[in-house]
Symmetry: C2
Subunit: 556 residues, 2 copies
């Protein structure tokens, strides 16, 4: 048996961990008001795994023997659970489909190579047999980057990198670590941390996603303002292709023509299998703090984030929620603390009211600081001045600590709601600073218009995060009580939001990849001629479409 | 007549500007000692332009008429001077060849489009006629990215972007400017400066090179530590291809699969013609200062730069010269100033001697600071501590101002030496911090071994510049008195240096592109499988090799 941990087949995260509303008194009233759902009513009973209708594995026995000869029979899995777990990522579409009980297509086999040489032999064997290879990391993707095409007639091999989970080497002089692609966030941070280092890459999926997955999908972590997106962090890698390995050495910057490094980042398995990457690592800073702030309006919060990005300060996190997401945050706090700065406390609200704030417009913000104690002090001072200029106030360290503890829990709420008949998911984009306000208004309006089409009471909230010199990411969360055709309803809302992004000058996704879910907007984003260049790359690199076909570019 | 300014046909820069040694008393003795050349002896008389042996233009008259119909006959040039100026860049190989008097192949025609629509029609006409299109910016390239293949039998069109030189738009909220590709450095900085903005991109070629050229060759400017390389700076662009335009919108960061943006950056004209780019611009900072420092050794200087890169400080320039380049800098100063910190002054040397420094090992460093006055003060303090830790001393603002004034003059020295029988050029690389010392030793040894093979007294000196989290650029300048076969001799030395880069873990070039000169090392740098991916991109995008063929990837 292969010792690689996977998430629940029917939802996010580890078995036994779930979102709990009973210790959060404001949550149930909030959800009732937002989408008309009574979360105190009993949840639907989950379908047992045995009741799923899963197609058989149709693996050519000769190929199966060959795969077993490479990795050992114990690392070749065709059982139903293995195949179901490797069919999807964790988008709401994925959860709806797997929970519906009917899977149209699964991989025919899951293989777990133990080293790069085995990956090479697996790839060569699969391509020789004209099978499809889908590399699998943590399975957290939410854009449909993992699913086999339902009409795929060839054998489908899910190549799970989970056994390749080691930090191989740390170059302390250069701040570079060579890490195997299958290492999950906590694994690699633990191994790096033993030597005083950190990667600093903490996406929401951190607890389950892998380095190889981050690279293959252009991931971004919460502290990207300081540590960069994964595209900045990854300097070199090894990519197994039929017959050989693309080796990109870790060079800080180079002028070697069109960037092969940047062709492989975001390639979602279409160019081969990433087995290891050499990435920036940093000494764990003396101080790591996240401070909370409040702004009197969304406009003030956005303007402050922009000014911080332009300033001499360079915090690790810049984040501000709109008024709706702020209300949601207030509604998910567990205990009301006595401190005046406690989120949503009556004392704090009274203070703001005395200052003349409209409490329905209050926006919660988090700014992260990392570095030496004196540097953090210096940056906090610079930020304080900017926050003040925009009418905001500081809440100190308390709310930030809360945020830091809760940040990886959010995905569990989705399963909680789904158990009760509500579909919730996220959609995010990035755009220049000058376009953010209009993009926001446009997207909220588009979502509500889509809800109206469906005749449902829907919710949409947003935060800004991941600031850059010229713009930032806007991250929307939306939810509604679905009817009998949840997938169709979801697609309608999601499509409206995606189209609003593009129409308002945003990109199809800042850090969740293209997969099949965002592929319809690719040509609008990078132009049809841009897609043509990319298509030429894919077709020349993979003429028989053996590598994760139909992702990123929809079949024409 | 087209009003686009070009450099001297036989050398660098503007007519009437030349390097002068007579006001630099230490220069002649220095050169005599370094490479055995007497620069006070009379220089060779330059070959008159009329004495060049230049092949005729063989342009299909039908194509010529078509081109004239698009841009107007006055913007279609087939005269000898236009074709000679557009044949090469300004590498030493280029200068040796053009000065030799014999040109094997020139473009058959130079066309100057006035807008993007004309570029589109020119590209479509040239491709329909199966002609070759070579986009031309400032003509400063030193890697052979511009020359037509000598055996090219098709018509060759040099497409000069010089008339497209306008800043079209500044998005002040986002710090983004849309600028035409043919704008030269001083033109665009002047237009931006009128509104209080700067691009902050100042390569050595700044006075003559263009935005489109920077993007097409992955350029890097002296202040890249703060402003980024051009690959970071350029967020969007328009690239004319046969039948249509690749439009990449300015998105701060995106996960749209393999990066088409990063395929076009560094593509050297092989994927099409860049007509405009949207780039990061910054408000001109309150303070811009460059400070000088001295270190007791190269090792100390390197270690200090590394520590600065890891620190909370983020200066705009980090640069340290080895002892040989430091001696060269001392030898090119014009007047001996009285101040004790004046470069190479006897008083300064006496001070260092009293401190126990070996004066033959002294290394000169420049650190640049930009931002608010208080921020610059803060960063200088952080840097001072690091410099002190490595035994260095500060020289204040004087030497830095000198550097700032002289920085664009260096290329003129090459012509001065070439007039006197010495070949001088540069070769630069980047590598992780942990490899820099060995790469340096290895490269210096390789150059001297190559000089020994040739039986000449050669010189090589180096500085570190362009620091990153994980490494930096090492920039070598080398020179020797050449014999009867200067090109062959140059190739021998240059090849030894390039191979040393690769063998020691460096890249073929940090910011001078691949062209034809660095192409032999591409497979060693990004692996044969990496080259195969890139070749697939080129061949699918340009199946008949109409766009600047044979650059980056050598013909197989």
């Amino acid at each position: 048996m292969t010792e690689v941990k996977h998430m629940k087949w029917w939802g996010w995260g580890d078995d036994g961990i779930a979102f709990e509303h009973r210790d959060k008194p404001a949550f149930a009233p909030f959800v009732r008001k937002a989408i008309g759902l009574d979360v105190t009513a009993p949840a639907a009973t989950a379908r047992p795994f045995d009741a799923l209708d899963v197609p058989e594995s149709h693996l050519d026995p000769a190929l199966r023997d060959e795969l077993a000869g490479i990795v050992g029979a114990e690392h070749v899995h065709t059982d139903t659970m293995s195949r179901v777990v490797h069919t999807f990522g964790k988008s709401i579409r994925d959860l709806l489909r797997v929970r519906s009980g009917t899977l149209e297509r699964t991989p025919d086999v899951v293989v777990y190579p133990g080293d790069e040489d085995e990956v090479q032999r697996l790839v060569d064997a699969a391509v020789a047999a004209n099978a499809v290879v889908i590399p699998f990391g943590g399975g957290t993707n939410i854009s449909g980057s993992l699913e086999p095409a339902t009409d795929e007639e060839r054998g489908v091999v899910s190549l799970d990198l989970g056994r390749l989970n080691q930090v191989l080497d740390v170059d302390e002089d250069s701040g570079l670590a060579r890490i195997q692609a299958g290492a999950q966030g906590p694994d690699l941070e633990r191994q790096l941390g033993e030597h005083g280092w950190t990667l600093g890459h903490f996406p929401d999926s951190f607890a389950h996603s892998t380095l190889g997955g981050w690279v293959a999908t252009r991931s971004s972590g919460m502290q990207s303002d300081k540590y960069g997106d994964i595209a900045d962090i990854v300097r070199g890698f090894r990519l197994v292709r039929p017959g050989g390995v693309v080796t990109i050495r870790p060079i800080p910057s180079t002028s070697t023509g069109p960037s092969v490094r940047e062709m492989v980042v975001g390639s979602e398995g279409r160019l081969g299998v990433i087995t290891e990457a050499t990435v920036h690592v940093h000494r764990i800073p003396e101080v790591r703090e996240i401070f909370g702030y409040l702004f009197p309006s969304w406009e003030a919060g956005l303007a402050a984030m922009r000014d911080i990005a332009e300033s001499d300060a360079s915090p690790s996190v810049t984040r501000v929620s709109d008024a709706r997401e702020t209300a949601f945050s207030f509604a998910t706090r567990t205990a009301s603390k006595k401190k005046i700065t406690s989120l949503g406390s009556q004392a704090l609200m009274a203070l703001l009211r005395r200052r003349g704030w409209d409490l329905d417009q209050v926006c919660l913000s988090f700014i992260g600081y990392e570095g030496s104690a004196s540097h953090v002090k210096y940056e906090k001072k610079l930020v304080k001045r900017i926050v003040g200029k925009h009418g905001g106030i500081g809440l100190g360290r308390g709310p930030g600590e809360l945020y830091d503890q809760k940040k990886f829990d959010t995905p569990y709420i989705r399963d909680f709601l789904l158990d009760r008949g509500a579909a919730a998911d996220v959609s995010e984009t990035a755009a220049p600073w000058s376009k953010l306000r209009q993009l926001y208004e446009h997207t909220v309006a588009a979502a509500h218009s889509a809800y109206d089409d469906l005749g449902v009471q829907g919710w949409i909230m947003c935060h800004l995060s991941h600031s850059y010199h010229s713009g930032a990411c806007l991250y929307f969360t939306f939810a509604f009580v679905h009817g009998e055709e949840p997938l169709k309803q979801y697609d309608h809302v999601k499509s409206a939001i995606q189209q609003a992004f593009i129409d308002a000058g945003g990109t199809l996704s800042h850090h969740h990849a293209v997969g099949v879910e965002h592929a319809p907007w690719l040509a609008q984003d990078i132009s049809p001629e841009g897609v043509a260049l990319m298509r030429g790359l894919f077709e020349s690199a993979d003429p028989r479409s053996n590598f994760n076909p139909d992702k990123i570019i929809s079949p024409s």
